[in-house]
Subunit: 184 residues, 2 copies
DNA sequence: CGCTAAAAACTAATATCATTAGCCTTAAAG
DNA sequence: CTTTAAGGCTAATGATATTAGTTTTTAGCG
C-alpha cells in the first residue's frame, strides 16, 4: 500500500557495516548513511536509531566470526591442530575487518553488545575439542584462556601495540601451541 | 603576569580521567569538564582539544599499568610466579579502572594511542624474566603471547563475554600457568 | 474509476557537541 | 603607573542525533 520503499533493515545494516569498516565508527553518521540511500536522515529512524544500528552491525560481526570458525574447525586432524586452525581463521577474519572486529569487542556500552544467545552458546563445539586436551573438568577454563589468547593477540596487533618487528603471525601460532601444550 | 589561573594541564587530565571512568567516554564532553572547573567550554582549548585530552588520559592509564606491574614483579620467586603476579596486578588494575582500561586499548584512532616509547620499552624487564622460561630466542614471541593472554582475558571479562559462571579469577590464573608451562 | 488507508518518506525544530576567532581582564614586571 | 601577555570570556559556526507532525504514494476495494 505504501510507495516503493528505498530502505530495508538488512540493507541498512550491511551498508552501515561497510561504511564503518571503511571510515571508522567516529566518522560514521546517520546523515552520511542516509545520503548513501538518497534519503533524508530522519527516514532512517523508522528502522534504527544509531545505537540499534551499531548493535546490529556488531551482531553481524559476531555471526561472521562464529561462521568462520565453524567452517575452519571442520577439518580432520588432532584436537590441537583443529583449535589452531580455528584461531587462525579468527585472526584472518579480524585482519580483513579490523574496524568492525574491534568495534564488536569494544563494548563500552551494554546496548552495543551482540545478543546474549549468539555468543556463549556458539563456542560449545570448541569446548568439546578443548576437553580432549585439558580434560572435561578444566575445559571451560581452558577454552576461556584460548579465546583470551586469540582475541588478545588480535587486538594488540590491530591496536598497533606490537611494534618491535618479528613475524606476528608466527608468534601467534607459537603462542597458541604453547598454550595448548600447557594444558596437556 | 596573568591573573590567577583556574586550570592547568595536569589537573585537567586527572579530572577527565575520573569523569570518563565514572560516566564512560560517550558521556564525556568538554562542556561538562569545563563546568566542573567553573569555566566556559572555550577556555579548555588553551590546554587541550578533546582528542589530545583523551590521548593524555590514555597515556596516564598506560603509565599506571606499567607502574603497577613493575611493583608487582619485584618479588622474590621463580620466574613463572613473578609473571603470574604481574599479570594479576594488571587484572586487578583493570577491574579497578575498567572504562579507562578499555579506552586505552581500544585505539580506534592512532592519535588516541599513548606515546610510542612509553609502551614497548616498558616491557623489557618482563621479557628478561620470560627468557628464563622460554629461552632467549623465543622470549619475544612468548612475551607477546603472555600480554595477549592477560589483556584478552581482561577485555573479554570486562566486555561481559564470559557469562557462563565459574571463578573468573581462578580461570585467569589457570590459563596463565598453563601458558607458561607450555613454554618450558 | 475513484476513494481510502496506511506505509514510507519528508519538513521542521530542538538540543548537544566540538571548535575557532577575537575581545576583555588582570596582575606581575619594569 | 604603564605595559604586556596569560587566561578566561563572548559569540558564532557547523555537525550531529533525535522527535513530532505532515505529506506523498499506491494497493486494494467498493
Amino acid at each position: 500500500m505504501p510507495y516503493p520503499s528505498k530502505l530495508d533493515s538488512e540493507t541498512l545494516v550491511s551498508a552501515a557495516f561497510d561504511m564503518i569498516e571503511q571510515g571508522g565508527v567516529e566518522a560514521f553518521s546517520m546523515h552520511k548513511l542516509a545520503a548513501e540511500f538518497g534519503v533524508k536522515t530522519a527516514s532512517l529512524y523508522r528502522y534504527f536509531n544509531k545505537e540499534a544500528l551499531i548493535q546490529a552491525v556488531n551482531t553481524q560481526t559476531y555471526t561472521h566470526i562464529v561462521q568462520t570458525m565453524y567452517d575452519a574447525v571442520a577439518v580432520d586432524a588432532d584436537p590441537a591442530q583443529r583449535l589452531l586452525v580455528a584461531a587462525k581463521a579468527m585472526y584472518a577474519y579480524a585482519h580483513q575487518h579490523p574496524v568492525t572486529y574491534m568495534l564488536a569487542f569494544r563494548n563500552s556500552d551494554d546496548n552495543l553488545r551482540p545478543d546474549e544467545d549468539a555468543t556463549e552458546q556458539s563456542v560449545l563445539p570448541l569446548q568439546a575439542i578443548m576437553a580432549e586436551i585439558s580434560g572435561e573438568a578444566d575445559s571451560l577454563a581452558a577454552l576461556r584462556g584460548l579465546q583470551a589468547l586469540a582475541h588478545g593477540f588480535i587486538s594488540l596487533t590491530l591496536a598497533g601495540q606490537y611494534r618491535r618487528g618479528g613475524d606476528l603471525e608466527a608468534h601467534f601460532e607459537q603462542a597458541i601451541m604453547a598454550y595448548l601444550r600447557g594444558w596437556q
